[in-house]
């Protein structure tokens, strides 16, 4: 190669050129995304056909839908042979689908308000990075307010329950400095003592500051699904933490108690646990006491969720580098201090997406209570509504409505979880 060929100096810089026409615009997108190869083109055609069929099958049904009608037969008359939905069942029976058929209709505002407040209460927890932590007070108050709104009765029951928690928290805070381990126990005992004592006072206050009481068995509809989901998940997180720590423990007896509990619960279907709540649990309670079915169901679902949450948190604990434990040890922190200040805050943060997954699954599973003849939304549909003479045979509209309710809630939660995961990934490291 001669000198002239191998050496080169550019005299003029090239300007940026536009790409060839095939490389831009809709055509390029279509070719790359839908028709990149014969097989791909075939897939596209099949997919378009499927979408077409879905649209053809459902569009007239939705468009022709009747929204006002007293019964299915009236609906059919109005449709006059056309294909169409009878959404009138929703406009007629929405209250039963949401609140059950026995909840006094003049009190719907109470669970409705509790539902709206749920968002206010959940926000500081869900968006903890954007909302100052002092608003967590609202989250803490919510269970007591919601209980009072839904069940009614004297305000002193939720109030004393709240005071018990506050007393426990106060004792915890005061003893924390002396010993982090004893503080947990002392706080718990203080709350327990307060509750037991207040149990003697409450009967005298039954008539003070009363909202019209509603019996547990009068609750129903989607409200039950939401209530069971929220209650059981919130209760199961602390139990899940304890079980996970127990399972990680180096003490064989404690470890095996936790392992057996977790694996047993995870090994059986939720429905068998609901059977336990329905027909077996009563045998294990002191003779003469009777628990609400709803309370028994809450106990069993909480046990169920705790086992799953424990496994999620165990994963979080295992994901922490060993160095974190060693660093805490080397500074002289004891077990309870290391857990509360170093290990759990980090492990829980890692576990949030997993916990949200469990929550979504559990929320969907609350429909199983319809099998033990509780009237949640599925129970309402299969029971009172489909059995009524007006609406016997309206399947799609009802099941579709329930499916949409669940879809909106669960899809929303899982989108939130994915958003949160992205947030946590970019978090400081």
């Amino acid at each position: 190669m001669s000198q002239a060929e191998s050496s080169f100096v550019r005299k003029q810089m090239l300007p940026q050129a536009t790409p060839p026409i095939a490389e831009t615009g809709v055509l390029k997108w279509l070719r790359e995304n839908l028709f990149s190869s014969p097989a791909n083109a075939l897939l596209t055609v099949v997919a378009i056909y499927v979408v077409y069929q879905l649209v053809v099958a459902s569009a007239p049904w939705i468009v022709n839908g009747i929204w006002v009608s007293p019964s299915l037969s009236a609906c059919r008359e109005m449709l006059d042979g056309k294909v169409g939905a009878c959404f009138a069942v929703l406009t007629e029976r929405w209250n039963q689908l949401l609140f059950g058929f026995k909840y006094p209709s003049e009190l719907y505002w109470r669970p409705g308000l509790a539902f709206i407040l749920l968002f206010v209460a959940a926000a500081p927890l869900l968006f903890f990075k954007f909302i100052p932590s002092k608003f967590l007070v609202l989250t803490g108050l919510y269970p007591f307010v919601a209980y009072w709104l839904i069940w009614g009765g004297t305000i002193f029951i939720p109030l004393f329950a709240l005071l018990g928690v506050l007393v426990g928290a106060y004792v915890y805070k005061k003893t924390l400095f002396a010993s982090a381990g004893m503080a947990v126990i002392a706080g718990f005992l203080a709350a327990l003592i307060f509750w037991i004592l207040s149990g003697y006072v409450i009967p005298d206050l039954e008539t003070v500051m009363v909202l019209q009481p509603v019996e547990s068995r009068d609750l129903g509809g989607f409200m039950i699904n939401l209530m069971l989901g929220v209650t059981c998940i919130s209760l199961s997180v602390p139990f899940g933490i304890l079980l996970a720590l127990g399972r990680q423990s180096s003490m064989p007896i404690i470890k095996w108690i936790c392992v057996v509990f977790i694996e047993f619960i995870r090994g059986v279907p939720l429905i068998t646990l609901l059977f336990v709540a329905n027909v077996v649990l009563g045998y294990f309670l002191p003779p003469g006491t009777s628990f609400d079915l709803i309370l028994r169901v809450i106990i069993m679902i909480t046990m169920f969720a705790s086992a799953y949450i424990a496994e999620v948190i165990r994963g979080g604990l295992a994901a922490l580098p060993k160095g974190q434990y060693e660093a805490a040890d080397s500074l002289g922190l004891d077990y309870a201090q290391a857990m509360q200040f170093i290990i759990l805050p980090q492990a829980l943060k890692i576990s949030i997406p997993g916990i949200v997954n469990v929550a979504v699954g559990l929320f969907k599973d609350t429909t199983l209570v319809s099998v033990i003849s509780m009237f949640d939304i599925v129970g309402m549909i299969r029971g009172p509504i489909l059995a009524s003479s007006e609406w016997n045979g309206v399947y799609w509209e009802l099941f579709g409505f329930a499916a949409v309710l669940f879809f909106v809630t669960c899809y929303g939660i899982s989108q939130y979880s994915q958003w949160l995961e992205r947030q946590l990934q970019t978090d400081h490291h």
């Binding site: 060693e326 040890d329 500074l331 201090q337 980090q346 490291h429």
Partner: protein
């Protein structure tokens, strides 16, 4: 002697290890270790990987349990009593290879956590002490950041400051520079040298032989769980006695 120019070593023992043995399962990691570290003394422990040098200093603050022999730290015999273990740990600072800062706490919170909860120092005072030591390791301006936002060298200096905040009488360093990028090693070593000059009792497991020459009173060479040779740095490097030591030195100083 070179060492005596740099230090005043008291004849009171800071750490006294007698006939200490440790097994991992059936593997005999530490065999009949006898070692006394005097107050104000700086010791560098060297040796090939797997020789048990990290395990040795981790035994001193009971991160590892030993099975035979005794360890006395600052006059307290290391026993199975948890209160005793916690007391010794609060007297002994430890710096890890991977820093082990708490990523969910700010730099300042990292430094004040143990003083507040273990030493029961009032928060305000703990923060003043923390800022003092952060200034000393030359990163006071990072106090409100999180560990993940700092470079490796800065993190390791925070880790040193975090240990110092407990006002320890002895500092243990477990390969403090091994996980660092080359350009960050010197800033950590400078901090350690400064500490040495102030008379802190130090046990360092490290491969930084320059550091050993400069600050150590004694270099201890370990292999196969035993102390093979110990000597003053000059003697150790210029005139090693054992064949194993010679081989080791030729390997790490070979290039």
């Amino acid at each position: 002697m070179a060492a005596e120019e740099k230090v005043q070593v008291s004849d009171k023992a800071a750490v006294e290890i007698t006939k200490m043995n440790k097994w991992f399962g059936t593997f005999h990691v530490l065999r009949d270790i006898d070692l006394t570290v005097y107050q104000g003394e700086r010791i560098v422990i060297a040796g090939p990987s797997g020789s048990g040098k990290s395990t040795l200093i981790r035994c001193i603050n009971a991160l590892e349990e030993h099975q035979k022999g005794s360890i006395t730290v600052d006059g307290t015999v290391l026993s199975n009593d948890v209160k005793n273990i916690d007391r010794i740990r609060s007297e002994v600072g430890m710096v890890f290879q991977h820093f082990n800062l708490f990523p969910h706490l700010t730099i300042l919170e990292n430094c004040t956590l143990a003083p507040i909860w273990v030493r029961k120092t009032p928060k305000r005072e703990a923060e003043d002490v923390a800022m003092h030591f952060l200034t000393k390791v030359k990163i006071p301006e990072q106090a409100d950041k999180y560990p993940g936002q700092l470079s490796g060298g800065q993190q390791q200096r925070v880790a040193i400051a975090r240990s110092l905040c407990m006002k320890p009488r002895i500092m243990l360093f477990d390969e403090p520079t091994s996980a660092l990028d080359p350009e960050m090693i010197s800033e950590v070593l400078d901090t350690m040298i400064q500490l040495a000059e102030e008379g802190m009792t130090m046990c360092c497991v490290t491969h930084e032989m320059g550091f050993a020459r400069k600050v150590a009173n004694r270099v201890i060479f370990m292999d196969e769980g035993q102390i093979v040779e110990q000597n003053e740095p000059e003697e150790f490097f210029n005139n090693p006695k054992s064949e194993r030591t010679k081989l080791f030195l030729s390997q790490i100083l070979g290039h």
